[in-house]
């Protein structure tokens, strides 16, 4: 941290591991909790379910878990974008079902090649999002209402697109492979090591640039901790998945979206503008940010990602039917974003919360399935976790306000 005039009251992290931990604790106690609660929750969930059923942490089950959350996580990436703006998109579930249906009908009934049908399905999502975004900004109708209408309308359109048959079964490998194939060990390790290498290179490049420019850098302890956590996490995940069926393509697709949108939101001017609009839309407008354009694009991306998630779900189910994208799809996607640590109040959060939150919801659901619990119990427990997450968000907001960081 670079103190401008060397303010002696500024609390800097002491060097070394103890100093780093102290800094983490200070930030947590001031409400800057970030992803910490959700990581703690994941560890707790793993311990609880593993002790109740030793099958929970097996490579086979973890592979299942990854496949189960791929669609939810992808949809949730779009939800995070919308939440960062301080808006909401309730239509993501219906859009995911509708776009999957468009893809399925084009492929199976109209004979369009699989890849092309996927492309049209994604484009349909983009078009829907554009329409909703323009509607919200042009007529100043709250996003809650527009996307609630969308939830109903797009679900109706889904039924109409599917027609009398009600169910379309998918057999085209171009579609079913999305959630159906796994990378062999060699390719899996190659991808994993490449990811670690890129991560290390970008970290060290950023650090070198800051040092060269005479700017402060974080403590070495924090840097090492990050490298160990991220690099170790990647390699461990690949080792575990390889012991099962290999790295699922669906996981790479989800991670690809997460990494790409995390980069866009934190490293580009457009991403900065998303945070600015979510923090203070009027200030952003006065600074010359094209606020409405940012909003329209975010809603377009949200529906596009919903379409991608719907297509992944269809690929896993090998079918699209009348209940595709309905039920708890939209609730899970929004809950995942919030549980992962993205604030409902706008301007605060990260794309990674989509993945972390989806992991929490997915592992609770997966663990309860292993224990053969009834749906009634599953719903109530998931509801409780969501309530806890939103409460943590609200309480930590108060903590930030008390510490002057709201």
């Amino acid at each position: 941290m670079s103190a401008i005039a060397g303010d002696p009251r500024l609390i800097a992290d002491r060097p070394g591991l103890a100093g780093t931990l102290e800094g983490v604790w200070r930030r947590v106690s001031q409400g800057e909790i970030g992803s910490l609660p959700v990581v703690a929750a994941l560890i707790l969930i793993a311990i609880v379910f593993q002790s109740l059923n030793p099958n929970f942490l097996t490579p086979r089950n973890l592979t299942n878990l990854v496949l189960q959350i791929a669609a939810m996580g992808t949809i949730s990436v779009g939800v995070v974008l919308v939440l960062l703006l301080g808006e909401i998109d309730l239509s993501v579930g219906a859009v995911s079902g509708l776009c999957a249906a468009v893809m399925a009908v084009l492929n199976v009934k109209a004979g369009l090649p699989g890849a092309l049908a996927v492309g049209v399905g994604v484009l349909a999502g983009a078009g829907i999002g554009l329409l909703q975004g323009v509607w919200i900004t042009r007529f100043r109708v709250p996003s809650f209402v527009v996307t609630l209408a969308g939830l109903l309308g797009w679900q109706g359109l889904l039924l109409w697109v599917l027609g009398d048959t009600g169910t379309v079964n998918l057999t085209d490998p171009a579609i079913t492979n999305l959630a159906g194939i796994f990378l062999g060990p060699r390719l899996g390790w190659f991808v994993g090591l490449a990811a670690v290498a890129v991560f290390l290179a970008s970290l060290s490049r950023a650090r070198r640039r800051r040092v060269a420019a005479g700017l402060g850098v974080g403590t070495t302890g924090a840097l090492v901790a990050r490298i160990v956590l991220v690099g170790g996490g990647i390699l461990l995940a690949i080792a575990v998945l390889d012991a099962g069926r290999g790295v699922p393509l669906a996981m790479l697709i989800l991670l690809g979206f997460v990494v790409a949108f995390d980069w866009v939101t934190t490293r580009t001017g457009w991403g900065r503008h998303v945070f600015a609009v979510g923090g203070n839309a009027e200030a952003a407008r006065r600074a010359g940010v094209a606020v409405d354009r940012v909003r329209v694009l975010v809603f377009t991306l949200s529906a596009t990602l919903a379409a991608c998630g719907g297509i992944l779900a269809a690929s896993r189910l090998l079918a699209v039917n009348q209940s595709s994208g309905s039920g708890d799809v939209v609730l899970n996607a929004i809950a995942a974003a919030v549980i992962g640590g993205t604030s409902l109040f706008g301007g605060r959060g990260t794309i990674w919360s989509a993945l972390l939150g989806a992991l929490v919801i997915g592992s609770i659901s997966n663990g309860m399935d292993l224990l053969a619990l009834a749906s009634s119990v599953k719903f109530m427990i998931t509801g409780g976790v969501l309530l806890a997450a939103v409460t943590i968000d609200a309480v930590s907001r108060r903590g930030r306000q008390a510490a002057g960081r709201a």
């Binding site: 600015a276 952003a284 600074a287």
Partner: protein
Amino acid sequence: MARPDRTPLLELRGIRKRFGAVQALYDVDFEVYAGEVVGLVGDNGAGKSSLIKAVAGIYATDSGEVHFEGRQVTIGGPNDTARLGISTVYQDLALCDNLDVVANLFLGREVVRPVIPGLVAALDEVTMEQRAIQVLRDLSVQIPSVRTPIASLSGGQRQSVAVARSVMWNSKVVLLDEPTAALGVAQTRQVLDLIKRLRAQGLGVVVISHNLADVFEVCDRIVVLRLGRRAGNFDARAASREQIVAAITGAEFGTPAPAGAA
């Protein structure tokens, strides 16, 4: 009055603005010349902020003309003013609490470097941070770190950041709506000195303030707004404090425009 032989840098003619039942501005004329500091004073609700926001493109005016460097211009939004070289410190500061100081200083004008030339550009945080440190140091702004979120700064520190943001873009006209209201003694001095520096650099500066001592210290000319109308235009060296107060309150002068009115 001041330098009638020259074209004003910024000139407003007959600006009217109405909010519902309130006629906030009525046929207001205003001008600022290059190298001049104009004080805009008036009671609360006189229309000072509305005038600033009309120039800045925040509110559309109901009627009136804006001339910049002698040309008539239309101001459709904040980008138009930025392009002309007009920058503003708003009374409510207009900062994003969730973003840090660097992000706020560069909001809407982020420095980027190409990642894939012509297609993808990333924020150049290093350049922005260096520049931010430089700008704040020049203004002797005391903040713990340029990476602190605005939410954790004091009112005065926020105001300093807002002032810094308005003067770091080589503007030709700077509009300051109560820039020292939340500042301590030392910081107020910094801002007043800064205003003098801007004048020396040939900028046109408009300062709104309730502190008449400050106004008399830095301003060349003082324009008084009262109930949405221009109620006086004084040479700051010739006018007395009492005259200004009288124009603000309307005590001495009746409904007809005062003798000093332009």
